[in-house]
């Protein structure tokens, strides 16, 4: 909780810090890092029910396209909220038909869903199809830091929802579902309802992050917005940081994006090899992620 609060406070104060000539670069990088961390937090919420989703790239893209199309008429904030709502609605439809599936079967269904959505957006005229869709900046560009604070807000909302769920009764229902659906049912948990609720909340947050992303990049193509790479990023970060926690995906996202950026600047060509190696080693030697390492240290000190 303190760690999460500290990170969010730092994110709020970052534009005021004396960063010198690096200020604009750090703020740009941080903005994307907050959005990716938000997406990772959203993915982790569903993972707490034991479901492995590959549809979060699609929810991110649905939020991005919806916000981009609605913003000129409705304004930035309503467009972002509706973008999240559209993603949640699609998750409801997907969930109703697939949430009885488990493990790999559910993952395959969500992957197929991503492909279907990408193809629909690719073929539709109103989305700009394969040519792409220009997007207006947040608040029509009236506030230079508007997009940045929106990204901070998305991160804060994702972190708050994650923390609150972790302290709610739903948390126990989700954990029970993850550990064994049959047992959860015996305990009186409405398994499908719990998974559906987690799926919708998770998709809403992913869509919200996608909307702010669109307003930063100013241009969307189906391959960028619905890329499988983003869905993979959404699951790699919580694994790197620590699954089923708030601080894990939050710190994981910030560290992974910072690490990638730093390696790109320092090494240049071939940085992806080093980046990949670091991720592999982390997953090999820290199966519970960074939070597992912190917990071990804490445990060690107590002992």
């Amino acid at each position: 909780m303190i760690l999460v609060g500290g990170v969010l406070l730092l994110a709020l104060l970052l534009p005021g810090l004396p960063l010198g000539e690096w200020r604009a670069f750090v703020l740009d990088t941080a903005q994307f890092a907050f959005l990716i961390s938000g997406l990772a937090l959203a993915w982790d919420l569903l993972a707490r029910t034991g479901q492995l989703s590959l549809a979060h790239g699609a929810f991110f893209g649905l939020g991005a396209y919806s916000a981009a199309l609605l913003a000129p008429g409705l304004g930035t904030l309503p467009a972002l909220l509706l973008g999240g709502a559209v993603a949640a609605l699609f998750s409801l439809l997907l969930g109703l038909s697939t949430l009885r599936l488990q493990g790999m079967y559910f993952a395959i269904a969500t992957l197929a869903f991503s492909e279907v959505i990408r193809t629909l957006v690719l073929k539709a005229q109103f989305t700009g199809g394969s040519i792409g869709l220009p997007v207006q900046p947040a608040f029509a560009g009236a506030y230079p830091l508007g997009g940045y604070y929106l990204a901070v807000a998305v991160l804060a909302i994702c972190a708050m929802v994650s923390l609150l769920l972790g302290r709610s009764r739903l948390h126990y229902a989700m954990a029970a579902t993850r550990q064994g659906e049959a047992v959860a049912r015996v305990l009186g948990v409405s398994v499908v309802r719990v998974k559906l609720l987690a799926f919708m909340i998770s998709a809403f947050l992913a869509g919200l992050a996608g909307g702010v992303y669109a307003m930063k990049t100013l241009f969307l193509t189906p391959y960028d917005a619905f890329g499988l790479g983003r869905a993979v990023e959404a699951l790699v970060i919580p694994i790197f940081g620590g699954l089923y926690t708030t601080a894990g995906p939050l710190l994981g996202g910030l560290i992974v994006v910072s690490l990638e950026t730093w390696l790109r600047l320092r090494i240049g060509e071939g940085y992806l090899v080093v980046y990949g190696l670091i991720l592999i080693l982390t997953i090999l030697f820290l199966p519970k992620g960074l939070m597992g390492l912190l917990a071990r240290r804490k445990g060690g000190r107590h002992a």
Binding site: A24, F25, L122, I131, G132, K216, P222, D224, L265, L272
Partner: protein
Amino acid sequence: MKKVLVLWVLLLAGLALAQTTVRVGVLLPISTVAGKAALNGVQLGVEQVNAGGKVKIELVVVDDGNTPATAVPALTKLMTVDRVDIVIGGLASGVTFALSGPVKQYQPLFLCIGAASSVVEQAFSDYGRFFHYHPWDYHNVAAALEFFKYLYENGARRVAILYEDGPFGSAGIQTYRAQLQNQGYTVQAEPFKTGSGNFTAILTRFKAFRPDILYWIGYDVDALPIAAQTRQVGLEPKLIYGAPPAWPVGFEKNRLSNDVAGMTAWLPSVANNESRRFVNLYRRKFGEVTDEYMAPMGYVIALSLGRAVEAASSADKDRIATELAKVQMDTPFGPLSFKPSDTGRTRFQGFNQSIWLQFQYLEGSRRPVFPANRAARPLRYPGNY
């Protein structure tokens, strides 16, 4: 002895004073084949400019990651941390569009190497420091249609189009279909998923149509399966014409490539002095010859910038832009000068459809076959597939 030394020092000091130094940001997807080729070309060109002694270009190279999420902060870093006034970049259209906002915010002289989409032309329409070297997408369509007109005159009537269902393949498909029909062709078009490797079902469907030309718009990974499976199903078109952004490495060594035709802006075998000079310099520096036209494109950008800086005798971006607008030079692609784009949206457009040429894989290498004034060999039509 002392006098000679003093004179030498004075000469060096004079040269240093006469030399104009500019710091240039390079923003390219250096992990991709085209991006790496473009970077090699830029570095080679800069080496030539610097060797001249009057201009010194210092490059700050940053990877744009081929995605807006990486490219936007990378451009911000170039402008605010590295403090460059000139940026060479913009290879992919989507990424370049995303850069249009930060470019307008920081106001660099932006020398755009690729980004053929008209959407990018629209995005930079009100930006006066935008120099676009690569032809626009409508130039590409015009060049391909010129070739199809020639084929029609040689008896071709039916075109089967096999296009990948992504942005690259499907962006211009309706335009292509309509324009080919206007030329008198009967057209049948089918989408495919790039990299799927299995085309037999679609190619078998095409058999009933008996196409004269099998025109595929996809990626390098699709080239070999299409060439192999066209033979396997017995489609027997008179020409296989491909339009990938890059051809597979070593494709020319595979006998299945024989007679396959395609379009490019440049080949190492292009017979002009600048092209030969570029090939020699490239071979000397990198120990190989490239087929990627982005390499000479990067080279041309660096050379033209060097000329503009020399003429401006200043590192001021506006004075350099003024001189760059006046540049007229021979390049591996042919003559370069800047004019307003055909739509009038941007003020400084370098090349147009005239740089495109059609080639055919013949006996293990790519040979220019069209237009006639740039052909090294006659087009083999009908080809043997």
